[in-house]
Symmetry: D4
Subunit: 249 residues, 8 copies
């Protein structure tokens, strides 16, 4: 919905041709750009307070480029997740200002970095969980949060975790990322009094069944205060944690 469309609409209201309520409805529900293969929400920032997100996996490079073009034209910030390196190269050829967080596989195009606030802490059980953790951390930072990281503090060596009681205690939200038996979420959940967002990862093999073991463990956490997102869904955890932290002011 471009500016002239909005003007036309508002003039109708002025003239009494359009009830105020109807105008609200139209403004709220119609203003997306239709690319045929994708509908881009221009008003979603009003609803969620964050830029539009593109899940790059499953889309062609050409589709992604067109979506970014439209967003860029509108002046939106863009966060592209699960973006392979060649996707980044295609996008950055047209939008040189965008950055690529390689480990997180995120393309980020953000005009002014938001001022950080309240702390979100991202912890991982192992080294292999880091890519998922980085997806969460980069997302949370892009959404305007201060982010701390503590990696490789799995429960098989409890002292490594217990050494970081201070950052654990001061965090407003904790994102616990772990594969294998996923026990990190329960142990962290038992140590802190803030909400813990658990991210099971597909790290492991055999009876891990592509992350099922960690997923089920986290869902069955005996610690209260733990909620779970999809396997390997670092973005989802970062976004959810941002909603929680944003409410805190």
């Amino acid at each position: 919905m471009k500016a002239d469309q909005i003007k036309t609409l508002l003039r109708k209201v002025q003239r009494g041709d359009l009830p105020v309520e109807d105008a609200v409805q139209r403004l709220r529900y119609m203003p997306y750009e239709d690319l045929g293969f994708a509908k881009i929400d221009g008003h979603r920032p009003l609803v969620k307070g964050f830029p539009e997100v593109i899940l790059c996996e499953g889309k062609t490079t050409s589709q992604i480029c067109k979506i970014v073009d439209v967003m860029a034209e509108r002046g939106s910030d863009v966060l592209g997740t699960r973006a392979a390196e060649d996707v980044y190269e295609a996008v950055s050829a047209r939008h040189p200002s965008c950055n690529y967080h390689r480990e997180a596989r995120i393309i980020l195009m953000q005009k002014k970095p938001p001022s950080g606030k309240g702390s979100i802490l991202v912890v991982t059980g192992g080294t292999s969980d880091i890519p998922v953790a980085e997806e969460a951390a980069v997302t949370a930072r892009a959404m305007g949060n201060n982010v701390e990281r503590i990696y490789d503090v799995g429960v098989a060596g409890l002292h490594r975790l217990l050494d970081h009681r201070k950052p654990l205690a001061r965090a407003r939200v904790i994102i616990a990322v772990a594969g294998m038996e996923g026990a990190l979420a329960s142990v962290v959940g038992g140590l802190v009094s803030c909400p813990v967002v658990a991210v099971p990862t597909s790290c492991g093999y055999g009876a891990n069944f592509q992350g099922l073991s960690a997923l089920l463990a986290m869902l069955n956490s005996c610690a209260s205060g733990v909620a779970v997102v999809n396997i390997d869904n670092g973005f989802g955890a970062g976004f959810f944690a941002s909603l929680v932290n944003r409410a805190v002011r």
Copy 2:
């Protein structure tokens, strides 16, 4: 840890017999009552801000009664979940002040009801989801939150949900409870800008596989800002939402 034990400990600190740090450790980590079959945390309220919770399912009535006795002696508030009616009768015979929320299957013993604040909204897809929703709502209320309820607003009749846009918009956290295809979480998540805690229920039959369909659907929600707890875990959702809402001040 009884009063005289605490005095003994503090006198040692006074006399320099016990380093301050050690005393902190002891106070922080040791003070639970050991019943042999259960360890009761007296200090957990300091960590989480809420009373001790008893998951009654899987415990004998006699074990539950003994745990409540110890808590009552200490003056703690008690929240017993998944409590069958006969468990309530046994407990209330010894502690007449406790209440039973029949639909939620919760025994609640709470001296002064906490003053309500910030709104937590509980919505369900159907009528059969209400017991789980009530477990969430009673828990959240006991943790000191204002709670609103909108029941039977499943996605097969969208207008029923869309009619409640106002409570949806003013909630700080929403708990979405649904069985069958669990689509409620995604639809609500797309309408609001606060965190949504999704609770899959085992309501349904056949390819529902005891809640698996709703669980997987909620974990795969295409709406950002949704996190999930265990199937039928109303308590977990109420508790998690309370942690989120408490942080909001």
Copy 3:
């Protein structure tokens, strides 16, 4: 069964050498061409009203070419699904009149395009679901239906779907294609009064388990009037919808 074979058979009936009933049986049940590795039904068009379909996946290029040759010789229309690009190239080298719908991965060889009638609407939850949706749409068009498409109207942005109430209302059958949590089928099913054929896709990751989440969700739809085909089975949905629409006259 070639013309001369049919004549021989009919003459036997004329001469009283073959009972009428037996002749019917032979005409009904025997007339397929036997290639050893495949039996081609020449009479199926009489049963179903549509051309023979080849599921290319799992067959060698050489087998596919031979099947198409026989069909072409008989003057049949051919619809080859799940056809890789190199299969199309091999087939079109021998049958230049055939077309390739790349996104749908369909090879189509059709002498006179059937006149369109009654509307079948294909909707998708996301952009990644489009290949499956195209398989359905191309199939339905080849079977003689008018086809409309609305893509990327997933339930996380309900207004995008609600904006299309008119095509939703006028469709005689709707094919709802969605991966992840598959909620689209339920939401569409609640908005319309025509049958909805739901196609779960394998789009997603983690607890999606290759389409299981969408499949279970759609089978458990709380909206009445929804039936489901196999994961990623766009062809099956297009064919089923064609049967429904054909009956409508």
Copy 4:
């Protein structure tokens, strides 16, 4: 929404106080009765053409009675599925005109039976599948269809099925109900040219896994023209078939 409410609304339109479109919206989307635990759609008949359906399983007898009361007061027809015998007794005590289809476990309260049309054929693989088949048949009959039944014609004795070629050929829609290996759907689908709605049942044992074997088999049917509903969901099949048959006129 009672009569006087509707009048008030229409007078506003007459006076020009309410845009026609808005009035439509209100009539379409708002008129449900709120019982707290359930929202009853008064206008759903306008959308689907059939009475409101109550899934009794998972609701208390008291809840069901209250829902029926409200519907009866409005003059609606009622179809209650998965109704245990004692639920029927409680309902019929208040509404003596309702009938109980014991094998189908359906409570039916219908003022004037709809005139039958076009044929829906219900077939089962075995005797144990009959309760699910009856749920489908009673539903379809209540929705105004002529219904034929052929039971116990499983694929292990093909001649039993092949003997019924005439009813198979004249049906507009076929509902194929089968447990165990669920092959009936494929065999029927290969014999007819109308849509086949497949209902897997949980009949069987062992590697049947509560209907999983039949469900997967039906989803993987090699016959085109088969769509599937949830395990044991006779109602869903009857309803879906009714939508298909209704469109045929």
Copy 5:
């Protein structure tokens, strides 16, 4: 166990140095060649009546060659299953007399082809099932059976199957190979009075789950007289059918 070893042993028996029973035991249980990574049974032919079989999958080419060398030296016949083309090339470089059944992926080294007897019939549901069927057919032929093949007679076109009643009726054992919904086993089982060995294949996609749908369907066959082997296990079916046919004399 070489000839001279056997002589030594028998002379001990002759001299009364070795009890007859012990000699039997030694002959029966000890004579395998130990390659370290594999133990080769020289006496198994006495037990089973067939040559040693090598499951090539999971073994290195070098291991396979060494096993074949030892067998060849002993004069055994060799049947190597799941052998990739390059394995065949390596083996045939050393043993030029061996043959490769490409579609069946079998390496066969057999001095004098056994005289065929009693008929084993191999049927498939589709064209994609042929490689598995060929594995069964080549195995059965190598074990000394006459083998007939009828391919692509799936249940969606019953007449294609019913046309072959004669070979169905004269077979002593039938091997039914099918993927997708695996209904072929039940339909064949209902038509014949000989044992049916069912082989589920992984042909299909989506809710086929790599052959699970066909496997469960076949295990739940409503036709008596059906037993099942592992998914894609053509060899196992051919071997089992050979044991059954061998007993028939």
Copy 6:
């Protein structure tokens, strides 16, 4: 199809009014009795050589009685599986000649016991597997086979099994019944040269998952010559073994 019907038919053939082939078809495919809820095959004995079998589970006592009545009137032998004690009582009240094999849960009504031949051996891993084994043994005996039993010879005490080498060696078919890890089938399969029909049972707990562990183990048997029937399907194994043994003459 009663005697006079058959006469009428044959006279038509005699008079040349009915082609021989047609008469065969009618005799072969039409003669079942239709009870509405069940179709009873009178000619199946011609096909399979055994009496009609009733799977009692899932049928009402009244349905079972009516089916037995019809069969008795025709003079058929009857084998009712999975028959609860009260079903037997109802049936025997009307047909005093029938017997009840309590452990096998089989009702048997058989005029003259068939003369036994060739040996079928039934072995079990444990004591809990006996009911399933008895279902197999009683079925096989009723089908005219000599049956031997060796129970509780699980692989954890190999010598118990190895002690029975003689009956193992002389059996023509072996039915191996085992729950838990189901290893009995592989061990027996490695000791003998006759076909082994494996029956997984649901005996066990935990990761047994109602027989899944034994089922998967038996399907993956490293011993050749093993085929598998459904979990707890003693009847199916007895029937299949009878078909194999019958062919041996």
Copy 7:
């Protein structure tokens, strides 16, 4: 095998009628009592060093009594697991010396309690895990081990576990019993240097799937030195731990 049988055998050896080796074989492999439905190993104590164990679940009370009778006559010690109260009553009526461990559901008949040695420590995550833990503890005690118990030290309150560092450090084997997310095994495994035998329990609900979550978590433990037994298999853990501890001398 009674004394006179043994004498007869040994005299044969003396006379040179039986080779020594054969005698060894007979003594080793034949001496079990055959009850038809069960084979009782008299020599197993020689192999394992512990009395015969009866898994009562799945056996009839009458079968259990007969097995105990035979064992008692031989003077064996008896350990009956998963024994319901009425089984105990039937057994104790005939063998008054036996004891019933109600929580462990174990019947124990042991002449002289073995002298305790080396410590086996049993820990549980919660109170509901105690019955399984008791099964392990009673078994281990009966096998001649000293047993310590620490119950309800789940990972959500780490300090409860860390308080027991001394018993953790001095144990030679630890049995970790936990349901839900099963994290106890990993945390204990990271704290100690002795082997940890993990027992998943079916305690929990929803996505616990009858113990699957704990089972998978324990199998995927990131702590080395953890091995797992079946869900709820307290006996198996106690027995395995006894074998380990016995080796330590």
Copy 8:
């Protein structure tokens, strides 16, 4: 924690500035090297008695090299599991003293090979299980145990296993490695009186489901004295067996 750090700490204790207990805590829980992406435990050898282990899978080559560098600087022994050949090449370029066990995929850097003791026996069912078995064997040898190997002694040819009764009898711990039906663990467990550590492998196909069949079979072993590790987890079995054997002195 370097030497000078340790001295500083100990001097504080000497001076009475640091309580002994605190010093123990610090030494026990803090001394790991933080690489950001990985925390390296220097003190773990004190806890477990073995060198630090690196699970190479899931880590980048660069991360692995840095971890090895730190360990080498500290003088630790290093065992890297699941190391691809190119990882070994990168590591050995910097640390030429390290060895690569190709079949086991283990990188081993060990200054003085420990003197072997007490025997650990590794057995496999087939040739394809050898890589997993080698992982176990190399691990156990590196941990200071004598290791024996018997490969390809699966239960389908029992005599191959029974021929090795002597090594079976003298082993202190046995590691049984098997895929497919995993029966080896039960059979071995029934023959010996030492603990058996079972390793399911993913060898097999079809209903093996990547090792699930062997895993479930081993968990359900009817032989007592068997515990299980993760699918393909040779390292875990070797480590666990080492803990058991170490305790034996």
